[in-house]
């Protein structure tokens, strides 16, 4: 069996450096969890929903360059900055090592969305080599269309690629948060100073929806333990794991072709070309907005809301209760760019 990796001197120094970088960044950057009770800031959390015909293209979809332009516009809208670089610089520093958690289980985050983000943060000096696109396993990433790469350009690999460090690529320490107790991917604990959740907007057969919050089930070693009671409060607790909470800077939800029924497996008949991206620093608010989009679509096609089909979306309220963000729509400022965000035709 695989035991915990020994803490070598090299590993100790690497971890210490990563921790120091995280602490330093946290001291200089604005708080991510805006709107939470414990956090001074605006009364409302801001969520940008940007829609564009290019995002609704089928197949591979838009190019990363086109996505970058769209993300730049969304970032400016989110912060109010005139220049995109100023907006990105609010969340990331040129020396950051950025881990972008994509979701490859079932309907995946489109590679163009993740690569567009890499191009966008390149605008403030983050070289591609400083970014890792990752999920649980190499197999999942490959199946979702990602090109695995350990070095030479934007890196892309699964947590399992680090299994030589022990525990299948997960931390030696158990991190406890609320009802969860988990090992966390070493991509977060050992490699990253900053984290972005780049999830997909889709229906979930237990939790109602899966978005930027549940995406972090793919960052812990035992997500199978946390699917009861509609995954609540486990989704919120997993998001609040210290290594995740300390590093999370931004959330992006791929709503280019969301799925409103029978997720998380990809089912084409329940997807539609919404052509959107959701951007926020508040993961709860971003998922609330995503949830409203799916609810609106379900209503438009004559489907009952999640509550009525036995899978109420509970984790948003739990997320707010834990200070992760804002769950109530009336406390969320939705900045809609392009077609109105609730137009789901």
């Amino acid at each position: 069996m695989s035991g915990p990796g020994r803490l070598t001197r090299r590993r100790f120094l690497r971890r210490a450096a990563a921790s120091a970088a995280v602490a330093g960044a946290a001291a200089t950057l604005p708080r991510v969890w805006c709107g939470a009770a414990e956090t001074p800031g605006p009364a409302k959390s801001r969520v940008v929903v940007i829609r564009h015909d290019a995002l609704a293209a089928e197949g591979q979809g838009p190019t990363p360059g086109r996505v970058r332009e769209i993300l730049d516009e969304a970032a400016r809208a989110l912060t109010g900055d005139a220049k995109a670089a100023d907006a990105w610089a609010r969340w990331l520093k040129p020396q950051d090592r950025l881990a972008v958690k994509v979701n490859c289980l079932g309907l995946p985050t489109r590679p163009a969305v993740a690569l567009g983000l890499v191009e966008a943060v390149g605008g403030i000096g983050l070289a591609p080599e400083q970014t890792i696109l990752w999920d649980r396993t190499n197999r999942d990433l490959k199946a979702a269309g990602y090109t695995l790469r350990a070095r030479g350009g934007v890196r892309c690999f699964g947590t399992d690629a680090l299994e030589a460090r022990g525990n299948g690529g997960y931390s030696a320490d158990v991190y406890t948060s609320g009802a969860t107790g988990s090992l966390v991917s070493r991509i977060i604990t050992d490699e990253a100073t900053a984290l972005v959740s780049a999830a997909v907007l889709k229906d979930h057969n237990l939790a109602g929806i899966t978005g930027v919050m549940k995406n972090f089930f793919g960052a812990i070693h035992n997500p199978n333990k946390y699917h009861e009671n509609g995954c609540d409060p486990f989704i919120a607790d997993a998001c609040a794991q210290k290594p995740i909470r300390d590093r999370l800077r931004l959330v992006i939800c791929d709503a280019t072709w969301p799925q409103y029924e029978r997720g998380p497996p990809a089912r084409r008949q329940w997807q539609w070309p919404y052509g959107g991206l959701i951007l926020s620093t508040d993961p709860v608010a971003a998922d609330r907005v995503g949830c409203e989009i799916l609810l609106r679509k379900r209503a438009a096609v004559g489907m009952k809301p999640f509550d009525a089909v036995g899978r109420p979306v509970r984790h948003l309220a739990s997320g707010e209760a834990r200070g992760l963000g804002v769950a109530k729509l009336e406390r969320i400022e939705v900045v809609s760019i392009g077609r109105p965000w609730l137009d789901v035709a």
């Binding site: 289980l105 399992d160 107790g181 070693h221 199978n224 497996p265």
Partner: protein, 401 residues
């Protein structure tokens, strides 16, 4: 559960030898099952059809193996983390994927009334259908198959190793055998045909039809009764008490030799009142002769804030349980205590003396007290073990096997 002892050089070499033997045997036989890599590196995850599930609309499945009855969408896994929905078919990812292999004294399981002084070829895969915060083996039980290093040993090779090593028993143990049910079932059935018995060391979280089917091939069972309150099961194990009690009732009904272990954790499940109620329930539902072991807790996993169980607490629990009517109550994880011995309930003489894993059954003769002849319940010969047959039942409905 087990084990708490360090691996000795002898044990290591034994395990290594067994593993090498199995690999050689597998190659020589040219047998393998379809395997695929789910990781970027060395861990191989074998895929095998699962038993005990039903198909639901849109390629979902409902697992019928344990009381959780997980509804699993395509591409997802059940609570145990080792059973996966692949395109509407339910698969086990741990068929023969052994992450632990040792030859242990049978007393280490602990089974005190089953072939004393013999050994058991003890194996485990990753995974469990509970999440006990105090799990002594959490580094395999709470992991998914691709997160541990495993060796593929198919049932034929496992039985062959047992035969070559002259171990009369296979023990499915360490993590939670219920989650590697298919492998356990097939290996136990094969072993039975070749003169090797099989014991399951389990939390008892299994549905009745699957359990009854399994009892047709097993020769003994040990159940961890975590506590006697629903609150403990809910708070500490993410599970429920009632299904475990149901399992104990079913085991008693089948007549298979069963022993029960309770890990006493200071302040959480060690009150005299709770132990009294538990013992009374065991007397009422399993009889006075079911062996009960109180085992010592050591801080681990998510329960690091409590001390090891005081020996006095274990001794007190033993007395309470015996006062409630149980005849064979033991204290475990403590090397030098009279609570480790088996005494004749008739004349009081020592029948089996134990100091650690040193066992002296001099007081046992023909399955009874050598002094007064009183019959001691248990399985004392391999012939007796292999002769066991449970009460038959009608084939369960609503399941796909």
């Amino acid at each position: 559960m087990m084990p708490n002892g360090r691996t000795t050089r002898r044990q290591f070499l034994t395990a290594l030898g067994a593993g090498t033997c199995a690999l050689c045997a597998a190659r020589a036989l040219g047998r393998d099952i379809s395997g695929e890599s789910t990781s970027g590196a060395r861990t191989q995850v074998a895929v095998h059809d699962a038993m005990w599930f039903e198909r639901l609309p849109d390629k979902a499945v409902r697992c019928l193996l344990c009381p959780r009855e997980c509804v699993v969408a395509e591409v997802e896994r059940g609570y145990c983390g080792v059973r996966e929905n692949q395109g509407g078919d339910y698969k086990t990812l741990v068929y023969g994927n052994l992450c632990s292999t040792n030859i242990d004294p049978i007393e280490k399981k602990p089974l005190y009334h089953y072939l004393p002084t013999t050994t058991a070829l003890s194996v485990a895969t990753a995974g469990c259908n509970m999440e006990c915060k105090f799990c002594q083996n959490w580094r395999i039980s709470q992991y998914r198959p691709e997160q541990v290093e495993s060796l593929l040993i198919l049932p034929e090779n496992l039985v062959r190793i047992a035969t070559v090593r002259r171990t009369p028993t296979l023990a499915f143990t360490y993590s939670e055998p219920v989650v590697f049910y298919e492998y356990m079932h097939d290996a136990a059935a094969l072993g039975r045909r070749q003169g090797v018995g099989s014991v399951m060391i389990s939390n008892g979280y299994i549905r009745e039809p699957a359990l009854r089917q399994l009892c047709r091939v097993l020769t003994a069972v040990k159940i961890d009764l975590k506590a006697f309150t629903e609150k403990f099961y809910a708070d500490q194990c993410a599970a429920h008490l009632e299904p475990v009690l149901k399992t104990l009732e079913v085991l008693a009904d089948t007549g298979i030799h069963t022993e029960v272990v309770v890990l006493l954790i200071p302040t959480l499940n060690d009150s005299a009142d709770e132990i009294r109620q538990m013992a009374k329930w065991l007397v009422d539902h399993m009889g006075r002769d079911v062996p009960l072991h109180f085992s010592r807790f050591h801080p681990t996993y998510r329960v690091q804030n409590l001390p090891p169980t005081p020996v006095a607490t274990l001794d007190r629990a033993r007395k309470v349980a015996m006062d409630a009517g149980l005849r064979y109550v033991y204290v475990g994880n403590v090397p030098f205590t009279e609570g480790g011995n088996t005494y004749c309930p008739s004349c009081g003489k020592t029948v089996i003396k134990r100091v650690g894993y040193n066992v002296d059954p001099a007081g046992l003769k023909d399955g009874g007290c050598a002094s007064c002849g009183h019959k001691i319940p248990g399985v004392w010969t391999q012939q007796q073990a292999l002769a066991f047959k449970p009460k038959e039942m009608a084939a369960p409905k609503g399941s796909v096997m």
